[in-house]
């Protein structure tokens, strides 16, 4: 009880401090002004701060996701992969996908589709001899994913480490690759991937336009760009409730569960500073994507943007 009261006092104090502070920092900033939550910092400082944020939350990242969104983030990620509707043989690049949530879902989906494909092929082969059926089994056995591959790319070593451990723990062995890389400057060649996803990561990228251009570069012609991100709620009543929840509950949860108030304060503020749906859509179109569209989930709390490299 005392701990909760203490948290509430800290909450109010911190909020007022953070909201009042920015003016002071602005004078010191040397270099292009960026936002870090509600603070104003330079580009370099922002990158460093974000790196530190994720370094400290990496181990408790999944637990915190579950408690903050009450488990709904799993549904959002499922919807993203369903929207992608990957067929076997797809090459996916999951950027800022540190702990591998999208990658694992992708693998499950492709495995299920592949199984259905094999079953259908078997039905067609029902008039083959036993010998031929056996041979078919042999050549298909090594192919449960149908050549699909996921490359998980993240700028943060800690997040990748957690992701690799999770993969081992859950038993995902084939079709996965883990690469350390910066979304603004991907270590891949042009025209390589079928799908590029970035789930809850583009908010943390310092230069979003560079990231979008890199996405355009590494995608094959006809490739798809998918972005899952917190966005703006237009409904006023829901918006008030959402604000209340975000600023009062989430940092507290952060402190109690992960022992890290500031990181979750940053998280909530960065959501507010992120451009709304239409603006992000315009930015994606500027990068050269066609047929750009977005789908609001939960009235705009989360939005999926999609574009094609045509």
């Amino acid at each position: 009880m005392a701990a909760v009261r203490l948290c509430r006092c800290r909450c109010r104090a911190l909020l007022s401090r953070v909201r009042g502070a920015p003016r002071a920092l602005r004078g010191l900033a040397a270099g292009p002004e960026m936002h870090f939550g509600f603070q104003s910092v330079t580009e370099e400082e922002r990158r460093e701060k974000i790196y530190q944020v994720f370094e400290s939350v990496a181990k408790k990242y999944d637990v915190m996701n579950d408690s903050m969104t009450l488990g709904i983030h799993r549904v959002w990620k499922d919807i993203l992969v369903h929207k992608m509707n990957p067929s076997p043989g797809t090459l996916l690049l999951d950027v800022a996908g540190g702990t591998g949530d999208i990658a694992f879902r992708f693998i499950n989906y492709v495995r299920a589709v592949r199984e259905r494909q094999l079953q259908r092929k078997l039905k067609h082969h029902q008039n083959l001899s036993w010998q031929e059926i056996f041979e078919n089994y042999q050549e298909d056995k090594s192919d449960s994913l149908g050549d699909s591959q996921v490359v998980v790319c993240d700028i943060n070593r800690e997040m990748l480490k957690v992701g690799k451990q999770k993969a081992q723990h859950l038993g995902y062995s084939e079709g996965l690759s883990w690469v350390l890389g910066n979304a603004e400057e991907l270590p891949f060649d042009d025209d390589m991937f079928d799908v590029y996803t970035i789930a809850f990561g583009i908010r943390n990228v310092t230069r979003i336009d560079l990231a979008l251009e890199e996405a355009y570069r590494v995608l094959k012609p006809g490739g798809r760009f998918l972005c899952l991100e917190f966005s703006h709620v237009s409904n006023p009543l829901l918006s008030r409730l959402y604000d209340l929840y975000s600023f009062q509950v989430i940092p507290v949860l952060g402190e109690v569960i992960a022992g890290d108030w500031k990181s979750y304060q940053y998280l909530v503020e960065s959501i507010r500073r992120f451009p709304p749906q239409e603006e992000l859509k315009a930015m994606i179109e500027d990068a050269g994507f066609f047929k750009v569209d977005y789908e609001n989930l939960n009235f705009g709390i989360v939005a999926i943007h999609s574009g094609f490299k045509l």
């Binding site: 929207k83 992608m84 509707n85 990957p86 067929s87 043989g89 797809t90 079928d194 799908v195 995608l219 094959k220 012609p221 006809g222 490739g223 798809r224 315009a282 179109e285 500027d286 050269g288 066609f290 047929k291 999609s306 094609f308 490299k309 045509l310």
Partner: protein, 314 residues
């Protein structure tokens, strides 16, 4: 850069808004970025000739018909909004049509699904993710196929009409004309007949009913127009309703027909068309019979009145 971006976005929204009237398709003004895939329209012209003839018929149709459906051919480049020449690149719609056409050859194997579309995209050199542009149930593929078939039918009927006008062929009687037109149209389904029931069920989804229905009505209208129908009274509706009924029932019969070259289907079609012709005769017969009966009754009534002495006047 920002101003150009804003101008492009404004042009993009304007272009989107105009897409309602299907005659006008403007290529998006993306002057500063060459598209990776959308190729120059001039390349397309060599491959797919545009058929302008089918547009004229819509003007001569009686009121009540909406000129909604056009053959899905490639559009030549139009000048942009401010009179400026727009890029010579094809629009997204044209690329989508190309993908769907390429996907048709994979339909017998994969069915009317996103997989077929993905395979089609692969043959064009695109990534399989391009199939994400379409619905996962294959609706667009089916609608594209149906409108392509309708366009082919129109071309066929147009050619026949030209031959008749030039005097090189005899004008067919109505029932034979209808029979041949419906048979020609249904024959286009033969390569896909295995998966066609799936297509029909997808066409009945609420989302697809408006487009499917308008495609069907415009095709029936086409056939009657080339059959020489110039009615402006209620006959217009009756004829189209009758032919729609004939077409739909024949299509369903075809789906479960296993005779060589679908002979049973064509015989069924012949019978239905004959029925329809008789029906119109019967209608007029019924009318004249009715009149005769009424006159007979009137005469009987007068006679009875006379016999009963009610008609006497003093």
């Amino acid at each position: 850069m920002a101003a150009a971006g804003a101008a492009r976005r404004a042009g993009w929204r304007l272009w989107r808004g105009r897409a309602v009237v299907r005659c006008q398709h403007y290529a998006p003004v993306r002057a500063l970025q060459a598209s990776a895939v959308l190729r120059r329209v001039s390349d397309e012209h060599k491959k797919e000739p545009f058929t302008p003839s089918s547009q004229q018929q819509f003007d001569t149709h009686p009121a009540g018909h909406q000129p909604e459906q056009e053959p899905q051919g490639p559009r030549p480049s139009y000048t942009g909004q401010g009179g400026q020449e727009s890029e010579d690149y094809e629009s997204e719609e044209q690329l989508q049509r190309r993908i769907l056409t390429a996907a048709l050859e994979f339909v017998p194997e994969h069915g009317w699904t996103a997989e077929a579309i993905a395979e089609g995209a692969k043959t064009l050199g695109l990534s399989v993710a391009a199939a994400g542009m379409f619905h996962s149930d294959g609706s667009e593929l089916i609608l594209h196929f149906v409108s392509e078939c309708n366009a082919k039918l129109s071309e066929l009927l147009e050619k026949e009409q030209k031959l008749v006008q030039l005097g090189e062929a005899e004008k067919k009687p109505t029932d034979e004309f209808l029979r041949d037109a419906v048979e020609a149209r249904l024959r286009m389904l033969i390569p896909y007949i295995e998966k066609w029931p799936q297509a029909l069920s997808v066409l009945l989804l609420p989302r697809n009913i408006p487009s499917g229905l308008s495609l069907l009505t415009s095709m029936i209208d086409d056939i009657w127009h080339y059959a020489g129908d110039q009615s402006t009274d209620f006959n217009w509706y009756t004829r189209r309703a009758v032919l729609t009924g004939i077409y739909n029932t024949t299509e369903l019969v075809m789906l479960q027909d296993s005779s060589p070259d679908f002979e049973d289907t064509w015989r069924f079609l012949e019978n239905r068309v004959a029925d329809a012709m008789n029906m119109s005769n019967t209608a007029s017969q019924v009318q004249s019979t009715g009149e005769a009966v009424v006159q007979g009754l009137m005469g009987a009534a007068v006679t009875i009145r006379n016999l009963a002495g009610l008609n006497q006047r003093r």
